[in-house]
């Protein structure tokens, strides 16, 4: 067993997870991975037991690996955007008050 992960490596994992999650091709999974990552790190913020920290760190690491692999698979089978994504896109680019009907 390696020693407990350093503060730096935890921070690095957090940033990498957010970055990879934000690249996930499917809207619902992208939003879930972002939310779950943020909440997961927040929930475990107060952990002090080194073995508990190592455990959640490893869990985070394997979630990151899943996100990376699945993002590749999802990018191979792309679908149309959801209405909500198109809606947001148009809202940003169209004049104020203009919305999809």
């Amino acid at each position: 067993m390696a020693g407990r992960p350093s503060k730096m490596s935890v921070l690095k994992l957090y940033k990498t997870m957010l970055r990879e999650a934000s690249r996930f091709p499917a809207y619902n999974f992208r939003m879930y991975c972002l939310r779950r990552t943020r909440d997961g790190f927040r929930m475990n913020k107060a952990l002090s037991d080194p073995s508990a920290i190592t455990k959640v760190y490893n869990e985070g690491q394997s979630f990151l690996e899943v996100i990376k692999r699945q993002a590749v698979i999802y990018s191979l089978f792309k679908t149309k955007n959801l209405v909500i994504e198109n809606d947001k896109f148009l809202c940003q680019h169209l004049p104020l008050g203009c919305r999809l009907v």
Binding site: N28, Y32, V66, N81, D87, L90, H93
Partner: protein
């Protein structure tokens, strides 16, 4: 993001808006849930390299598949507090319900000729009971109260000396109410009657423990808890032993109760989904609560005459069934075409008949016709709920503005007092 550039002139903007009609939002989590990417990740090795038959005992291909199946069996068992030996893999909750209801009744059928169920069960339980009736069994279809819950008194009165089985679902698929499973289990145990629960909509969403709740048989579905379609599991208690007559004959797999080669990749997926459900249950449940509170507060603060079907307290927050008075449910569904919704069970969504579940809770015919079920899942976002609520409010208002009934109600006419001349 849409790759098209927004053109400058007005008419081509309009064409662009018309051409971009993205995929609808998914709000039908009771019909099925998407496969969790973590589940697919666990399954893929068994769809590619590890293709052995788990029943092959003579080579490594068989052994590795067998180990994967047994690991998954433990993961399923852990989620419901069972022993892995008590888990039987099947093709889904419908098969589980068939095996449980028909199997137990037929095995004990010589002395015990009575089965109890409720009026709000899933079609596959009700239909299995109809088959039993044709075979000479008597079936009591318990009514439910107007909140969708059964009355324990009625159940106690219905249990007879020759009752073989009580089958009551944990979470209703249309209105989301949670039956008092622990009390029912206790009652059935004290009367020495087997208790089966269809927990397809409950497993992985609310805490369930077969020992604490005295459950003898339980049906689990893979695709309702972010697992793959085409797989399920039936819990069959070993102590005290529940015996049943298998429906499918063959090689004697799964303790002889369900013959046929087990589908390793699907079972690995079910196991992974159960493992995830166990660790994520609390987190997911809190999210469902947040989403449902948001939807309800938005809709009820903007619309009047909205009725929530089913008990608001004893229910799973990921399933909200609302009736919008004076609006026809089907027209609302058509108007809300950019949100995938349903007026009830997917099995009956092709017909325009109002749901039998809503009729059983005593909803008026017109309210039963105007119901919509909102189903949230692990991957539903707050933005989607806001969008759905907004569209729903807008279209209910629009449809009511066109409705002569709504106009009459606004003028203070009691619709029930009207004698319609043509019948």
């Amino acid at each position: 993001m849409a790759s098209a550039k927004i053109p400058d002139n007005e008419s081509s903007k309009a064409t662009l808006i018309a051409s971009i009609n993205g995929r609808p939002l998914y709000m039908d989590a009771q019909a099925t849930t998407p496969l969790d990417p973590r589940v697919l990740d666990a399954m893929l090795p068994y769809l590619t390299s590890f293709y052995g038959n788990p029943h092959s005992r003579t080579h490594a291909y068989g052994w590795e598949s067998e180990k994967a199946v047994e690991d998954a069996r433990k993961e399923v068992a852990d989620l419901i507090g069972a022993d892995p030996k008590e888990i039987i893999f099947t093709s889904g909750a419908t098969e589980c319900n068939n095996i449980a209801v028909k199997g137990v009744a037929r095995f004990y059928g010589e002395n015990k000729k009575h089965v109890i169920t409720t009026q709000t069960e899933h079609k596959c339980v009700l239909d299995s009971c109809r088959v039993l009736e044709n075979e000479g069994f008597t079936v009591t279809y318990l009514p439910v109260n107007s909140n969708g819950l059964i009355s324990m008194e009625n159940l106690e009165k219905a249990i007879r000396k020759d009752t073989a089985l009580v089958s009551i679902m944990s979470v209703n698929n249309e209105i989301g109410v949670i039956q008092p499973i622990e009390e029912i289990g206790k009652l059935c145990r004290s009367k020495k009657v087997f208790f089966h629960t269809d927990a397809a909509q409950a497993v992985g969403k609310i805490p369930l423990d077969v020992n604490k709740m005295n459950i003898d048989l339980m049906s689990i579905s893979g695709h309702k808890l972010y697992g793959p379609k085409g797989v399920g599991a039936l819990y069959v208690r070993r102590r005290p032993r529940v015996r049943l007559e298998p429906i499918q004959s063959g090689g004697g797999q799964e303790r002889g109760l369900r013959s046929g080669t087990v589908p390793t990749p699907l079972i690995v997926g079910l196991g992974a989904a159960c493992k995830l459900a166990l660790s994520e249950m609390e987190y997911d449940h809190a999210w469902m609560k947040k989403l449902s509170e948001r939807l309800l507060s938005k809709i009820t603060s903007n619309l009047e005459d909205v009725v929530r079907n089913g008990d608001p307290v004893h229910s799973y927050p990921g399933c909200i069934n609302l009736s919008f008075a004076y609006v026809e449910g089907e027209s609302l569904l058509v108007a809300l075409k950019d949100v995938a919704l349903s007026s009830g069970s997917a099995c009956t969504s092709a017909s325009l008949e109002p749901s039998y579940v809503l009729r059983a809770i005593g909803a008026d015919e017109d309210l039963a016709h105007s119901s919509i079920r909102f189903g949230f899942g692990r991957f539903t976002t707050m933005e989607e709920v806001d969008y759905t609520a907004e569209r729903c409010i807008k279209h209910v208002k629009r449809l009511r503005d066109m409705s002569p009934l709504w106009e009459m109600v606004q003028e203070g006419i009691d619709l029930k007092s009207i004698k319609w001349s043509q019948h």
